[in-house]
């Protein structure tokens, strides 16, 4: 009785507090998605026009070799990037959490790539990966004459180099997110485990990591969003090349949105990406919603 009476004004506050979010979600995002959907059904060029071409843009999209290759590249890249960042980020977070000296310096060393614009670091990665300038040449000069590392000029391997550079950029962020999670773990757990003589790795594996589920979910969603939006690194490092070997969907969308003045085709591409994401995330959201409901 009393709790109920007291919770009412609070509920009211919660409703008010969520208004900006509701506006953003409905007017901003839902509105933009519907607009994009609408444009994708027209023959708009530089500006949106309101004719109807049904699914002609989608048909063109799925007959376009570059788009299909982009999707394939993104799948390969996505798996490598998300797995790589989570793994490296986790290892770094756990090690830094072991009460190391110079924590701030180490943290910054792993996180600084996140602050650097790819416009310039892309050039550095280009140099590093360039067979006649970078790592290959340096190792050969050290005496390993047969050493070969020329992925960036190899159409079959170039997408791996994009993964390497972007993992370098993003795994520091994953480290920080997981570190924030680790710092939220109750110190009593550690005290108890030490008293019981349980080795640290077992505490991590059996107790602490399972508690970080939400931190992992946060990191995974951020990484997944970065995968879908992958653009800067490709433009800075390969411009989609050699040929079209490292093309990705966001670059296809961008190229058609601005340079190629075909916003209808670009919108169709964006909608396809959105539907793909929904198809991937729906089962996860559904399962989590169910487990959440049963836990409460």
């Amino acid at each position: 009785m009393t709790t109920r009476r007291r919770s009412r004004p609070g509920q009211y506050g919660a409703h008010v507090a969520l208004l900006p979010m509701a506006l953003t979600a409905l007017v901003g995002y839902l509105g933009a998605m519907l607009w994009t959907l609408r444009v994708s059904l027209t023959s708009s060029r530089t500006f949106a026009i309101h004719d109807h071409v049904d699914i002609a843009q989608y048909a063109r999209l799925f007959h376009n070799e570059r788009w299909l290759l982009s999707l394939e590249n993104l799948a390969v890249y996505g798996v490598l990037f998300v797995a790589g960042c989570l793994l490296i980020g986790l290892v770094l977070a756990v090690l830094i959490d072991r009460q190391v000296r110079a924590e701030a310096a180490l943290r910054t060393a792993f996180l600084y790539p996140y602050a650097m614009s790819f416009v310039a670091t892309g050039v550095v990665w280009q140099w590093l990966l360039n067979p006649s300038l970078g790592i290959q040449e340096a190792v050969r000069r050290l005496g390993l004459a047969g050493f070969q590392f020329d992925w960036i000029v190899d159409p079959d391997k170039v997408i791996y180099t994009i993964a390497i550079a972007t993992i370098w950029q993003a795994s520091g962020l994953v480290m920080v997110i997981l570190l924030a999670g680790l710092r939220g773990v109750d110190p009593e757990i550690w005290k108890a485990a030490r008293l019981d003589g349980i080795p640290a790795w077992r505490v991590y594996w059996s107790i602490v990591l399972p508690m970080l589920g939400h931190s992992f979910a946060t990191a995974a969603i951020l990484l997944l969003a970065a995968v879908v939006k992958l653009y800067d690194a490709v433009v800075a490092m390969t411009q989609g090349g050699p040929g079209t070997a490292s093309e990705v969907p966001a670059k296809f969308i961008m190229d058609h949105l601005f340079g190629r003045a075909n916003i209808a085709l670009a919108s169709a591409g964006a909608i396809v990406m959105l539907v793909t994401v929904m198809a991937l995330l729906a089962p996860v959201v559904y399962l989590r919603g169910r487990s959440g409901a049963s836990a409460r």
Binding site: L133, P242, A245, A261
Partner: protein, 409 residues
């Protein structure tokens, strides 16, 4: 000289008439941000200032970004006074929307229809109205060669035919040099293609393919030869070329590691930075033979419509100032381009620019750039096919078919 003086006086007079109240203010969006480009656009700003105007500079690196900003500002109701575009179909959608003001008064006063090269006229004149003021002409398919590399390969004369070009490439290769300095990016591969279309195919085929998108020409044996010659060049680039920036390819010429680069006349800025001079350190060839078409890639300012009469005045003054002969020469010297009009004083221009101006006077050699004839969308589709062909092993017949489909759909 005399006529340019006259125009300057006319400009000054016009300016003084316009400047009775506040000076005309022009906010200008452009993508000229590197050292040389920056110096060039400053010549425009200075000329505008001395004509009584005030130049507000909005520089945005990257032509696509700059155009995107200009278009969004038009959509958002906060248009700039002027925005840079290429002389191409890029701004035709804006014209169709009724978003651009004309510069007919200046164009008719100065007789642009007799002064400007045809591809530029065709791009800026729509249904008899002028919608842009041209400012520079680049030629994207110059053939540059390093004199040092040529000496090392024992080459004394510059190539005069396509066969000689390939012989020279072979000699350079035999001398252990990189024969062709190439940056493996789609737009640079596109340049090689256009160079071959111009030099191997000739003017007729060039126009039939890009302007008319003629199905028979697209399927012809001549076009097939163009495509296979383009691919033949691939044997002369080094393995590290994919992804390389054009200027790093030029650096290979500067250091004498490579012999030849096919690229627009903006490379002169890189040579100049390395304190190298035309004729002494490097050579420039506009085309292999006296009939080879000269490709005109132009830049022009467009003027978004405004209700404010002050803005309209600022726009007319700007169109008048940037096309004036004196401004044109001052600008071209810095930019590496050539002036849009032939009635100028050439003494301060370099030998390559003078060669370009001489060719430009021969109307039978002048053709437009790919973007003059193709929509940005068609051009992009073509570029995708060409870069794939360059980098993968694909039969030339298959490529020919893909191009025919992309350009005729």
């Amino acid at each position: 000289m005399f006529s340019s003086r006259l125009t300057t006086i006319a400009v000054a007079l016009l300016a003084s008439v316009l400047a009775h109240a506040a000076p005309p203010r022009a906010e200008v969006i452009h993508w000229w941000t590197s050292g040389g480009e920056s110096a060039a656009v400053r010549r425009l700003a200075d000329a505008y200032k001395s004509a009584g105007g005030e130049w507000l500079d909005t520089a945005v690196a990257g032509s696509e970004q700059a155009r995107a900003v200009a278009v969004s500002r038009v959509v958002g109701g906060d248009p700039p006074t002027a925005a840079l575009f290429n002389t191409s179909k890029q701004f035709h959608d804006l014209v169709e929307q009724g978003s651009l003001a004309t510069v007919d008064a200046v164009a008719i006063r100065d007789g642009w229809d007799k002064l400007l090269p045809e591809p530029i006229l065709d791009a800026i004149r729509i249904k008899g109205h002028y919608y842009a003021a041209p400012v520079s002409i680049h030629m994207p398919t110059w053939i540059w060669y390093s004199k040092a590399a040529f000496r090392r390969a024992g080459l004394t004369a510059e190539p005069a035919t396509i066969d000689e070009l390939f012989q020279d490439l072979d000699r350079l290769k035999a001398a252990g040099l990189i024969p062709l300095a190439h940056g493996g990016q789609p737009w640079q591969e596109n340049i090689l293609f256009r160079a071959m279309l111009a030099n191997v195919g000739g003017r007729d085929l060039y126009l039939k393919i890009l302007r008319d998108r003629d199905p028979r020409a697209l399927q012809s044996a001549e076009f097939k030869k163009v495509l296979s010659t383009f691919k033949r060049l691939h044997a002369y680039v080094d393995g590290a070329s994919p992804g390389r920036n054009w200027n790093d390819a030029t650096a290979l010429l500067i250091t004498g590691k490579a012999g030849i680069q096919i690229m627009g006349d903006w490379v002169k800025a890189e040579f100049a930075l390395a304190r190298q001079l035309p004729e002494r350190d490097y050579g420039c060839i506009a085309g292999l033979g006296p009939q080879v078409p000269y490709i005109v890639q132009g830049d022009a300012f467009v003027f978004p419509k405004s209700d404010d009469p002050q803005t309209a005045k600022a726009q007319q003054l700007l169109a008048s100032v940037i096309t004036a002969p004196r401004t044109q020469v001052a600008f071209s010297v810095q930019k590496g381009s050539i002036p849009i009009r032939p009635d100028i004083d050439q003494s301060t221009l370099d030998v390559c620019a003078r060669a370009g101006i001489a060719i430009l006077k021969d109307k039978s050699r002048v053709v437009g750039n790919d973007e003059n004839y193709l929509t940005p969308d068609q051009n992009g589709a073509l570029s995708d096919i060409l870069t794939t062909y360059w980098n993968r092993d694909i039969q030339v017949e298959a490529v020919q078919k893909l191009i025919a489909v992309a350009l005729t759909q």
